[in-house]
Amino acid sequence: MSCALLLLLMSLALAMGTGAAVEIQRPRGVPLSKRQFYEENKPFTCLDGSSTIPFDRVNDDYCDCRDGSDEPGTAACPNGSFHCTNAGFRPAFIPSSRINDGICDCCDTTDEYNSGATCQNTCREMGRKERESLQIMAEITKEGFLLKQQLIHEAKRGQEDKQGKLTELQGSKKGLEEKVEALRTVKETAEDPEKEAKERHLKAWEEQKELLRMEKDKTRMAEAFLELDDDADGYVSVAELQSHLELDPDSDGSLSETETQVSQGQSEPPAPVETPQEESRDFVSDHDSDHYPEDYAGEEEEDVEDDEEDDHDEEEEEEKVTPEKREDDEVSMPPYDTETQSLIDGTYSHLQSLICDPECISICRNLEKEIGFDFGPSAEFAYLYSQCYELSTSEYIYRLCPFNRVSQKPKFGGSETNLGLWGQWAGPEGNLYSVMKYDHGQGCWQGPNRSTTVKLTCGKETVVTSTSEPSRCEYLMEFTTPAVCQEPASLDEVLHGHTEL
């Protein structure tokens, strides 16, 4: 002992016997498949090969192997596992820490051989119950699968129908259009002189408009530049651009340098423009922040406005508030002479009434939308489309309209809450069609927008079986449908695959 002895590990047993019962066939906790590694009276080599120990140290309640393999039947190794045979039910591995912890884990009671816990052997009972439920499940699966075949068949027919109808509608529309085209040719030939006059008129107008536009662009750019050039040094710096959040394309609240460069790159290089100082001041003091996007974005004006409109209702309001300004921006083309006008009007209103029957258009759109949905590999979920399923709880009525929305309505009055709109299939890899995700529901106070996850399980009936709210405003719905039933394995296979008899 000349080496520095620094740390000493020592186990103290409280008065507790090890009292190992006699295992005849194999050491306690060893599965049949590993039996050959535990040969009595021969040195035992840890299953990871890390060391070899005398056989009497196997299951001696002291952990020798790093992989825990020397103590399959005791709680000594932190990473060990114990095998319960569970005759009559299915075998299982449990963590070693559950051996003799006073809690019955193995249905054959073998994990509690020295804890004083009184465990009942429940394997037979559990086996019976499992077989029963497997049987029931197998029957459900079988019937469900048959129903599913029907659903697939119907879906296929339905889809064909719909496709056919769409094609037909589109075809008839096309026919109409062709007729109109023909009519138009006839008309136009007859109306050539009129057409020329119209074109001349149009061209002159376009030229005038172009002039107006160029002038306006120039002024606008100057104003924009002065606004951006915060320190009035005649150059627009990156920092100055970053201080203008309205230029922030990803709306993350800050303008990164990359973003800044992009906006600089896209707009024309800003050059100092001779603009009277007062004018720009006036603009700055008069401006309404809602006008910023138009005024700064230059050529991107249209895009920016479109994007913004979705997010900002104020913008729309602003448009209504300042109609003069709008009119000023879009000087409308002066009308043709009245004769030309009435001729064109007459012809077009007649043609439009033929092609643009609104009812027909809406049918077409709906059909296109429905055909566009992912109703599963064989369209087996198509039957859920435009259906709704309800579940009533003590407080609420929950309503699931697949591929559309989920909602919740208080039973005793109060308005309906949107718990999410159809998002996408969200099952795990290999089982994508087992989970539906609905999101962007009504916002929660201090929380996210409501969303619902719908878990689909095989059943003969299509029904919502439960709802819950595991996290605030995140709902979970259980839904059975034949559409997820898999082709059943034969009952014998199911049972034998799970039982070590």
Partner: protein, 843 residues
């Protein structure tokens, strides 16, 4: 409106616009702070001096208004001095705090050494300590030899607003929509203390601030006023949920304590002649810290604990207010909480989740939503229709539950608890005599008067198994909102003119929370016939609350700053008696990043009260929801906690037995090492484990300070040895929890981590013996049944001392392996009984 024509509003700087904006009329503080140091108007009337066996009394007179005060001085056993100052003849009695001291502190005789017209000198007995009473101006100095340890009123800030008769108008103060009728008028008190040679003061929790207290010159004072603060900020002297008016001073020479026994709103001003300055090396001026205490009402009753060591101060304070309740062992294990586990199925699923992911836990908690409409002592009939089945399910796995019982009671004539409290007249009264009502979780609520012993006895009886329906022996209690929280009250608490019997809430506000926890703990003891130890968690607390259970740092947030501040917050509590402290793991408000959550588990695993908790509006965060790698990291942190439970239990036994803190700042064990004095990013558990949690986002390494010249420290994971008195850079990965065991110590662990601490009851102990450079080590092991009072009443426990000395031990039957590369010796199955004498000799 006579006293306070102008209001001083302190506006707490809250960033979130949603939170209550706390404003406060602090007339008393304004008046008191307006006093400038200088000539005190108080003079001691030496002719009134009386000296008895137990105390000295002396009258003081304010030469400005001729009002007389009565000074009482006591020499207390255990090197303490008590100074009490009250009005000589108050118009009516002033409030003196009851129920905090565990007994009338035993005194020692004082003796008069000398006396002249300028003052008197008294002997304080041992250590050549003297107390000098100067007459004009009045001043007290406590000396040891030629050294002044501490002076009172040396800056002349003694102030005592005497009670008087209202001549015209009203005392009333108004701010925002709240009116304080102040029927007794101004009544504040103040006294200053000077601490020569002292640069470091600690304590006066609860504040989300550094361990070492800061000078308050030019800023707000540290405020002690129990409040339900919405989204508190860190590094701020603002008042939080609890208040312990105890300050420790420390220098390399001496540790002392000041216990200001007053339960009214209190402020502490600290100034230091060295604060914020590089210590002057060229001048001779000694450092000095000046402290001033101000309270809104009551009397001056201050205990000066003279140390001289940190251990002495802990013992002295424990002798006054008692020690930490010895918790059931399982309460030291891991707690899983959330606002809220929704229903019985949810509870069962979370319970199963822990088993499926092989993560141990002992307690699952139910927040307010489990009740029937926030009526405490009841269950929501839809969500929890069969509470006993649920509890039995947990019991079958040897696990436990905590349900919340808050002190606000729904005003509802169909609610039994309310009806009984109302009919017995147990509610706090408003100034006009009716039951005081305020808004809290249930809506309109009453507040039981826990200061009334009859009320407490009745409350305790409500925890009986036949009263609290659905309760079982594995169900324990959480008292939240016991500041008390009143949503529509001033600063979200009770009106100061509300009445507890004859006393205003103003007088005893900070004491309310202690009484709530006390009554509940007594209920849990009674329901078991006095056999079982209770476990009660409370948010508000006062001096003495340590006797009744655990506290936590309230509604923190899922932010790195909040993880960091949990260390000084619990250290500050530990220094003043409250060892059983923790912070919500993960942060209560907001949602933690996965990294923050993992780091918080790793930190929480080494803090006394280890509970994960989350706000209702946050996404779920059970440990297995963040992918297998993070599940494994959290599992490992929790398992480290479980393996170390024998050591935790032993530390709590000591905290209970002798008042020594479980979690300690380094300076407590290395009082002369000035490098440790302001350290609060690492701490000691007992004296043998040093923990430096990783609390920085994206950390690649931490620098831990290993204290002690000649000391060695072993990394508990790698057994690598490091020398003491050095800053050690430790590279870290996301799995690292830097923990070191002191060479010379023996720490018991249980290596078989099971699904709950109860399952590990009969498992063997593993001793980790870390040798000192002199090849010596000692340690101990404390074992009892883990949950009853039998350790105390029947002395049923095993407490062994281990020592390793003289280089060689073993017994012939022992086999051992020695791994030279790691310097680790493993004794294989020594087969000794932990309860018997034995010697193992290595040869």
């Amino acid at each position: 409106m006579v006293q306070c024509s102008q209001y001083v509003l302190l506006r707490w700087h809250n960033t979130n616009l949603n939170k209550h904006v706390l404003t406060l009329c602090v007339c008393a503080l304004r008046r008191q702070r307006a006093l400038k140091p200088g000539q005190s108007p108080y003079r001691a009337l030496l002719e009134t001096l009386e000296l008895t066996n137990t105390k000295l009394t002396l009258q003081l007179i304010n030469d400005n208004n001729k009002v007389r005060l009565l000074l009482e001085l006591y020499r207390l056993q255990g090197n303490m001095t008590r100074v009490k100052i009250n009005e000589l003849k108050p118009l009516k009695p002033r409030f003196e705090v009851p129920d905090v001291l565990i007994n009338d502190p035993p005194t020692e005789p004082l003796s008069l050494l000398s006396r002249d017209e300028n003052g008197v000198v008294l002997s304080l007995g041992a250590d050549s300590q003297r107390l000098i009473v100067s007459a004009k101006p009045f001043r007290l100095d406590i000396m040891e030899g030629r050294e002044v340890l501490l002076s009172l009123n040396s800056r002349g800030l003694l102030a005592f607003e005497h009670l008087r008769i209202l001549e015209d108008g009203m005392w009333e103060e108004t701010f925002k929509s709240h009116t304080d009728s102040k029927p007794n008028g101004p009544s504040s008190i103040s006294l200053d203390f000077s601490l020569p040679g002292v640069e470091n003061v600690y304590g006066i929790p609860e504040h989300a601030d550094s361990l070492k207290l800061k000078a308050t010159d030019g800023g707000d004072p540290y405020r002690l006023f129990n409040l339900d603060v919405f989204q508190y900020e860190v590094f701020n002297p603002m008042a939080l949920y609890g208040a312990i008016p105890v300050m420790l001073s420390h220098s390399a020479q001496r540790t002392m304590g000041i216990f200001w026994l007053n339960a009214a709103e209190t402020w502490v001003d600290i100034s230091s002649n060295t604060a914020g300055k590089v210590r002057p090396t060229h001048t001779q001026s000694t450092p000095q810290t000046d402290v001033r205490w101000i309270s809104e009402s009551g009397i001056i009753d201050v205990f000066i604990m003279l140390g001289p060591t940190p251990t002495d101060v802990f013992s002295q304070y424990a002798s006054l207010t008692g020690t930490q309740a010895f918790p059931p062992l399982s309460a030291l294990a891991y707690h899983q909480c959330r606002w809220n586990y929704n229903d019985q199925e949810d509870v069962a699923a979370v319970d199963q989740g822990f088993d499926d992911h092989d993560i141990p836990y002992d307690f699952i908690w139910l927040d307010i939503e489990h009740t029937d409409g926030k009526r405490y002592f009841t269950w929501d009939p839809h969500k929890f229709p069969q509470p006993k089945d649920m509890l039995q399910g947990l019991l079958d796995k040897r696990r436990k539950m905590v349900t919340i019982v808050d002190p606000h009671i729904k005003v509802d004539s169909s609610y039994k608890i309310h009806n009984e409290i109302r009919s017995k007249g147990f509610y706090v009264k408003s100034k006009d005599g009716g039951d005081y009502e305020g808004w809290c979780w249930p809506g309109n609520s009453g507040y039981p008067d826990f200061t009334n012993p009859e009320m407490r006895a009745w409350w305790a009886s409500m925890f009986a198994y036949d009263q609290y329906e659905g309760s079982m022996e594995n169900m324990y209690t959480w008292n939240d909102m016991n500041e008390p929280s009143v949503f529509n009250g001033p600063e979200v608490t009770m009106h100061k003119d509300a009445l507890h019997g004859n006393w205003e809430n103003r007088d005893l506000h900070n004491l309310y929370g202690l009484y709530v926890q006390r009554a509940t703990a007594e209920g849990l003891i009674e329901r078991s016939g006095g056999v079982e130890r209770p476990f009660v968690l409370a948010r508000a607390f006062f001096a003495g609350s340590q006797r009744y259970g655990a506290v936590w740092t309230g509604d923190n947030a899922a932010e790195w700053e909040h993880l960091k501040i949990s260390i000084p917050m619990c250290l500050s509590l530990s220094l003043v008696g409250v060892s059983f402290c923790g912070a919500d793991v993960g942060g209560f408000f907001k949602s933690p990043s996965t990294e923050l959550l993992v780091r918080w588990y790793q930190t929480g695993a080494y803090q006394p009260f280890f509970r994960a908790h989350a706000h209702l509006d946050t996404p779920r965060r059970e440990p297995w929801l963040f992918g297998p790698e993070n599940t494994a990291l959290i599992r490992e942190a929790v398992r480290q906690r479980y393996a170390l439970l024998p050591y935790w239990y032993q530390l709590f036994y000591h905290a209970h037995h002798s008042g020594q803190p479980v979690m300690r700042p380094l300076w407590v064990e290395y009082p002369q090492d000035t490098a440790t004095f302001s350290m609060d990013d690492q701490f000691l558990l007992g004296e043998d484990l040093l923990v430096h949690p990783v609390t920085e986002e994206g950390a690649r390494g931490v620098t831990a300070y290993l204290p002690g010249k000649g000391e060695v420290w072993f990394d508990v994971h790698t057994f690598q040895k490091h020398n003491g008195a050095q800053n050690l850079y430790i590279p870290v990965t996301i799995s690292s929890i830097p923990v070191f065991q002191r060479g010379g110590s023996i720490i018991p662990r249980k290596a078989r981590v099971r699904r709950s601490s109860s399952c590990m009851e009969h498992d063997p102990y593993t001793l980790f013996v870390a040798l000192s450079p002199k090849r010596f080590a000692q340690g101990e092991l404390y074992i009892d049944d883990g949950h009853t009072f039998n350790f105390d009443k029947q002395k049923q426990f095993i407490h062994r001392r281990f020592s390793f000395a003289n280089n060689a031990l073993s017994s012939s039957q022992l086999e051992f392996e020695f791994d030279a590369s790691m310097s680790v010796l493993t004794l294989r199955k020594p087969g000794v009984n932990a309860g018997l004498d034995w010697t193992v000799v290595l040869q």
